[in-house]
């Protein structure tokens, strides 16, 4: 065997070199423009923090403590004025088309100031990513253009994602568990559409959104094979908002209950149905070839979404790790202990260094996951250099002239699905999903850890709302829970990244 051949075999041994070095692999493929976009996104977030978030974050949190039913429309409108709700929607669909790689650094920056505000802005892209993951181009186009219109007219149009149910939290994140889950949100096929019954809970931005991307199930006995997604607009008969949760933190971003009572949803708002894979012509043939049945299609949909959103949550962890670190540093500089500034005590320097390390580790993790997702995830085509530059260089107006008509054609949806869904290999799905979970677990655990350390250092000052650190801790704890608890994510890391070294192991079958 040639030396090169041998090396390549050696590198494929566990842990696979390419799999562990996402950034290295991405470097050669990544368009240079992405770096500039990341810089601009972070600068923009810093500007927003200074002009809006810094003064508003505490006021909003206090207000929510006083009145837990308050809806912060003024924040939604402000973020809308800043253009945040269309920045990462591709120009093909009427958005500003920023590179998806720039969203995580932007999120970290925002999160270093306030996680509630970050979530209110970021979770719109969670809703959007479920919508995008279905690759129903007609509806993506229609809803995205409403978001853009809302930006032009000053009437915000946000998208929420509705997955969690009262009896299915962790279960809704993994098809293996879904097979045994007690889901209740059912979509029954009727003439011309579906009738949906059930409740969704903990839906971030629910009350503030115009469109809701709803995950339901056609057969409650076989939810793993009958996942179905809809786009539901406010005002749809049978759809209403229920209670707003009283959360410990991230109070400025409402968590809502969505209630569906005999809610009729016409066929045209059905995004994708796992059970109708067989009716999808070319696509069903491609799926068969890739060994993807309805169940695998459901998992691919979940993985498309979480591979994009979990690194974002990791970035929120990095952000709050930094926020807590910065508050601790400020405290150490202002506080005199034993006749000299705390910052000049060796032990405090080591503690601050540890906090800096934690924030850096969180950032490294989400960046690796970001690279993995940009190479393997649902938007990987946009990272392809010729497409990237074409998409970046052409003004939105050019896209606006041609795309809406094209996007309405079923053939375009089929083409995209062939390229993105059928074109994604099992390995790609596995690597992107595994890294996303890794970034989520690492970033959020490190984020909470830094908040704990900051409060320990600050003592009495750390307890006070007006000193900000206690809010960091309350806000950060949610990061370990949403987008899959860190326990579910650890199991996913096992399934995606560890199990290849233990082929006999079975995840989710304990």
């Amino acid at each position: 065997m040639s030396r090169k051949g041998e090396s390549s075999l050696l590198l494929r041994e566990f842990p696979d070199f390419a799999e562990t070095m996402q950034g290295l692999a991405a470097m050669e493929r990544m368009p240079k423009g992405v770096v500039e976009e990341c810089r601009e996104a972070v600068a923009l977030a810093r500007r927003f923090n200074r002009t809006v978030a810094r003064n508003y974050a505490l006021e909003l949190d206090r207000r929510m403590q006083e009145d837990p039913t308050y809806l912060p429309w003024e924040l939604v409108e402000e973020a809308n004025r800043w253009g945040f709700f269309t920045m990462w929607i591709p120009k093909l669909f009427g958005g500003k088309g920023w590179s998806l790689s720039s969203i995580a650094p932007f999120v970290e920056e925002l999160a270093s100031e306030c996680l509630a505000i970050t979530n209110l802005i970021g979770v719109h892209y969670f809703g959007f990513s479920i919508l995008a993951a279905t690759w129903n181009v007609r509806l993506i186009d229609m809803i995205s253009r409403e978001v853009a219109e809302g930006e032009r007219t000053g009437k915000p149009c946000l998208v929420s994602g509705a997955v969690t149910e009262p009896e299915a939290g962790t279960d809704a994140e993994e098809v293996e568990l879904l097979a045994r889950a007690r889901v209740r949100c059912q979509a029954r096929r009727v003439e011309g559409g579906y009738v949906v019954n059930g409740r969704k809970i903990f839906i971030s931005n629910g009350h503030l959104s115009t469109w809701h991307i709803l995950i339901a199930y056609e057969d409650l006995e076989r939810p793993d094979e009958t996942m179905i997604a809809f786009a539901v607009k406010n005002g749809t008969p049978g759809f209403s908002f229920g209670r707003m949760e009283k959360k410990m933190g991230q109070k400025g971003c409402p968590a809502s209950e969505l209630v569906f009572e005999d809610c009729f949803i016409p066929d045209e708002y059905m995004l994708v149905a796992a059970s109708r894979l067989g009716e999808m012509g070319l696509l069903s043939r491609a799926a068969r070839k890739a060994n993807r049945g309805p169940r695998e299609l459901g998992m691919q949909l979940i993985d498309f979404v979480v591979s994009a959103t979990r690194p974002g949550v990791g970035a929120m962890g990095a952000g709050v790790a930094r926020g807590a670190f910065e508050l601790a540093l400020q405290f150490a500089r202002e506080t005199e202990v034993g006749g000299k500034p705390l910052v000049n005590h060796e032990w405090a320097q080591c503690l601050l260094a540890e906090m800096y390390v934690n924030a850096a580790l969180a950032r490294l993790s989400y960046m690796e996951a970001n690279y993995a997702n940009s190479m393997h995830g649902m938007a990987r085509l946009l990272g392809f250099k010729p497409l990237y530059y074409y998409h970046r260089a052409l003004p939105t107006s050019v896209f606006d002239r041609f795309m809406p008509a094209a996007n309405r054609r079923d053939a375009v949806t089929t083409a995209f699905r062939l390229l993105v869904m059928a074109g994604q290999g099992e390995e790609q799905e596995r690597v992107a999903s595994g890294w996303a979970s890794l970034a989520k677990v690492a970033g959020t655990d490190l984020g909470v850890r830094n908040c704990q350390l900051a409060l320990e250092l600050m003592g009495q000052a750390g307890l006070r709302h007006d000193r900000r650190a206690e809010k960091c801790l309350r806000d950060a704890k949610l990061l370990q829970i949403y987008e899959g608890t860190n326990q579910l994510n650890r199991l996913n890391i096992f399934k995606c990244l560890v199990a290849p070294a233990a082929p006999e192991a079975r995840a989710f079958e304990d």
């Binding site: 206090r62 403590q65 006083e66 969690t164 009896e167 299915a168 939290g169 962790t170 279960d171 293996e176 568990l177 045994r180 889950a181 007690r182 809970i201 903990f202 949760e245 009283k246 959360k247 410990m248 933190g249 506080t335 005199e336 202990v337 032990w347 405090a348 503690l351 909470v448 704990q452 409060l455 320990e456 250092l457 600050m458 003592g459 009495q460 750390g462 307890l463 006070r464 709302h465 007006d466 206690e470 801790l473 309350r474 704890k477 949610l478 370990q480 829970i481 949403y482 608890t485 860190n486 326990q487 650890r490 199991l491 989710f508 304990d510």
Partner: protein, 377 residues
């Protein structure tokens, strides 16, 4: 517990009954303070049964119980609602400081108004060691009387009690303790400070403009009294945290038995068991630590003061971790106010700051050992 006297067992049962009867229902609403009314009724009942003067001598209206008794009461109360625990601890601390200062007269006076909890609760900034950072509050003597000027931060119960025990810097560079009438001249009481935890045990910032203060003990000896009180009461702070851990574990276990994911009760997921076990082990260890240290304090066994301080550092930190898991096991539900777990998490972190910044308490601990004090025989 082996070796627990009948009397202590009765007291523990009484505190348990009190907690279940008074502290469970309405906990969420009470925790909305300052955006909901203060739980004056509960404070009055706690005062009635003597929770605010457990350690005080009988002649001062107290029950003259050992530190073990205070620990049992705090543990039981905090299992259900640590806010009342915060009030009981602060009352015990301010009275202990008076006792350490040998101010028998002051002590009697502080306990004289036994009819009102406001009188029985001398306010004190119990989340701060006045020796840690420079004090803004200064005392000036004028013809044998003292006047206090400056800011006293985060005075616990400062808007509830009629008097506060306040540390103020003196001319010699040290600090002393003064009793200040909070309704008297020159005292400006701030709004309740919105805080992480113990919402119903409020703290306020006080602005003093030449307010009359009654010197407690000797001038410049504040640090001596404070450190002596910390020796005895660190274990009580640990007991409060231990109670919160117990509440968090019990709620998590109940939930894990009922919640079904992946087609079975989550208590049967082995990773959930691992987390539950880690919570249970750390909580049991905390209980043993608290009880052992409290017994050592009461018996003045060799190394008792360090035992008390070690218990606080260890248990307070463990409580922040256990209550974090306590939320985690309930997932999204744990993060919502309905299940009480998020409150326990906040309360545990708040309790960790009792008696001053944890890292400085660690350094003080080891300084004493380095200086020759023996942690064990």
């Amino acid at each position: 517990m082996i070796g627990m006297s009948e009397e202590l067992r009765l007291l523990e049962g009484m505190a348990r009954d009190f907690a279940l009867k008074e502290l469970v229902e309405g906990r969420e609403e009470r925790d909305r303070y300052p955006f909901a009314p203060l739980f004056e009724e509960v404070l009055a009942k706690a005062h009635e049964v003597g929770f605010f003067s457990i350690l005080s001598p009988e002649e001062a209206g107290g029950a003259a119980e050992p530190v073990q008794a205070l620990c049992l009461v705090l543990e039981e109360l905090c299992r259900e609602d640590a806010s009342l625990g915060g009030a009981v601890f602060t009352a015990a601390l301010s009275r202990e400081l008076l006792r350490q200062a040998g101010s028998e007269e002051d002590l009697k006076e502080a306990c004289a108004g036994t009819a009102s909890p406001r009188e029985a609760l001398p306010a004190f900034p119990s989340f701060h060691n006045p020796s840690d950072t420079p004090l803004s509050l200064r005392a000036v003597e004028e013809g044998g009387a003292y006047r206090l000027t400056g800011k006293a931060e985060y005075v616990v119960l400062g808007n509830v009690a009629s008097r506060a025990l306040l540390p103020a810097g003196s001319a010699d560079g040290g600090w002393s303790l003064y009793l200040v009438d909070l309704r008297g001249e020159g005292v400006e009481i701030g709004e309740p400070v919105l805080s992480l935890g113990l919402h119903a045990c409020p703290a306020v910032d006080l602005l003093l403009h030449g307010a009359p203060g009654e010197l407690v003990g000797e001038e410049g000896k504040g640090e001596v009294y404070f450190e002596a009180a910390v020796d005895r009461l660190s274990v009580a702070a640990a007991a409060a945290s231990c109670g919160v851990m117990k509440g968090s574990f019990e709620t998590a276990l109940d939930y894990a038995r009922q919640r079904i994911q992946g087609g079975r009760e989550i208590v049967n997921w082995s990773e959930v068991r691992m987390i539950l076990s880690s919570m249970a082990v750390r909580t049991k260890a905390a209980e043993m630590l608290v009880r052992g240290a409290a017994a050592a304090v009461d018996a003045a066994s060799p190394g008792w003061a360090l035992a008390s301080r070690a218990a606080a550092l260890q248990v307070q930190e463990a409580a922040t971790e256990v209550t974090c898991d306590g939320i985690q096991l309930l997932g999204g539900n744990g993060y919502m106010q309905d299940y009480g777990q998020e409150k326990r998490f906040r309360d545990a972190k708040q309790l960790q700051a009792l008696l001053g910044m944890a890292p400085l308490r660690k350094l003080r601990y080891i300084r004493r050992v380095v200086d020759g004090e023996r942690p064990w025989a």
